[in-house]
């Protein structure tokens, strides 16, 4: 315990804890939305699509992260458009944008003379090397997400649940869907910069799977996901310290262990 407290004295560790909390909140909110809508892979899709933006920015000598953000938003819009207007299945649309973005990135990297940086490393971070700038950006995003979900909770819930009916209630659901997808895209790009794709993919799904054991209510799912997500990050960080193993992997194991234990417990409990 003493040791853990002393660990917090290191800003990299306390930053990791803070980033973990913020990512948990973002993953709790955005993750519950994408899990409920069964489009978990929008996270991978948007990240990889934004590789195109990084490539272009690199080619033009601009800030790569700016390029990534622009492409992320564009690809989110592209996914929504393909689904709603071009009648492409949503998961196919995500895969298409995923590969298109990557293809664009590869071409630009290829066209830029000299030894190109490993551009993916601009996208994929590690929770232990989170910078203060990252944390500030994340904080802003967290505030945006909390405000968004608080103000528009019902609208978001109902559009996700039954878009056609919500349309008959007098909402322009198409535009709302576009806006939601832009915010989701930004959340994903930011969080992946902080957590890396692998950890993010699990923070966006395993806590929701855990929450699903207890509840089938959207709002409760958000809260339970955030709680388990943060618990997983904390336990994982400390565990990875004690076993001296990479923290991302240990966080994932921790979450999966939580899920298994709870699933089995509930099952035994229910059968009695």
């Amino acid at each position: 315990m003493q040791e853990i407290i002393s660990l917090l004295g290191f800003s990299f560790f306390s930053n990791a804890v803070i980033a973990g909390l913020l990512t948990s909140i973002i993953a709790g909110i955005a993750g519950t939305y994408i899990v409920s809508r069964k489009i978990v892979f929008i996270s991978g899709g948007i990240t990889h699509a934004s590789f195109g933006g990084i490539g272009l920015a690199y080619f033009l000598g601009l800030n790569p992260f700016f390029g990534a953000a622009v492409f992320a938003v564009l690809s989110a819009l592209g996914i929504e458009w393909s689904t709603q207007k071009a009648q492409v299945r949503e998961d196919s649309a995500i895969a298409i944008l995923w590969s298109l973005g990557m293809a664009i990135g590869i071409i630009f990297v290829f066209l830029t003379p000299g030894y190109a940086p490993n551009l993916m490393s601009f996208l994929f971070g590690n929770i232990l090397t989170v910078t203060t700038t990252d944390i500030i950006t994340m904080l802003a995003l967290t505030v945006l997400l909390i405000a968004g979900i608080t103000l528009f909770y019902r609208l978001i819930l109902y559009i996700a649940f039954d878009q056609e009916y919500t349309k008959t209630l007098g909402f322009n659901t198409t535009i709302v869907r576009y806006i939601i997808s832009i915010i989701i895209a930004l959340s994903i790009v930011m969080s992946i910069r902080v957590a890396g794709i692998i950890l993010l993919l699990s923070l966006f799904t395993i806590p929701q799977a855990i929450a699903n054991i207890f509840t089938h209510d959207f709002k409760k799912m958000i809260f339970i996901s955030i709680a388990f997500s943060f618990l997983g990050v904390l336990t994982g960080l400390i565990g990875s310290y004690y076993f001296n193993l990479p923290s991302g992997a240990i966080i994932i194991f921790t979450l999966i262990i939580f899920w298994s234990i709870l699933k089995v417990t509930i099952k035994l409990f229910r059968t009695h």
């Binding site: 519950t32 409920s36 069964k38 103000l151 528009f152 909770y153 019902r154 609208l155 819930l157 109902y158 996700a160 649940f161 039954d162 056609e164 009916y165 919500t166 349309k167 008959t168 209630l169 007098g170 909402f171 709302v176 699903n212 509840t215 089938h216 209510d217 959207f218 799912m221």
Partner: protein, 249 residues
Amino acid sequence: MDRTPIINIKNVSAGYSPDKIILKNINFTVYKNDFIGIIGPNGGGKSTLLKVILGLLKPLNGEISYKEKSYNKVNIGYLPQINTIDKDFPIKVIDVVLSGLMNGNPFKRFSRPEKQKAIDLLSKMGLEKYQNNPISKLSGGQMQRVYLCRAIINNPELLILDEPNTYVDKNFEKELYQHLIELNQKMAILLVTHDIGTISSVVKTIACVNEKLHYHNSNIISEEVLKTYNCPFELITHGHIPHRVLDNH
């Protein structure tokens, strides 16, 4: 009878692709206090007509005008025929019902009385003990009742029901029609159903849809009129029923 028009459909043609028209040149007005039963054979275009009215399907031709200028302003309650929602979606029964109250307000929060209203409605439908269940765990008839609650909770000006008696048991069906008659005091109702027996006893007017729309300004129909207007009809199976045809038909 209050003849204020709520919705006016003029020369509308509709379909899912321009080369296959389902509804041809429809003219149709819904007035306040209308209770119109829409009948017609399977695949006749009844659901398509409702989707056009609701703005879910853009007509290929013609014009739809609403009482207020934009559709967003007309308060419509809707019960779809087939609900394509994802059964796994994490939502509670009561929240589904409450969605009927959104009324175009994106910031909508529900007050206590509103929640109470939803609970009361669910109780009326015999579902009070399921109010906090996830929607996925209901039986077919229970789910249908939930969608019905959602359609009527907001006291809409126009209630559009696409085969509301699907799945529901006879006990409830009787209550349902009773309820609709009451509701009609306050709102116009468009009811699609194959339950001809009931239609004559609850609706005020009948329209039959089979590519074209035949509007009968009466709830009494006969074999003769059906033949005249080529309404391809169920009623025929019920034998002769007295009917009256309006001049301006």
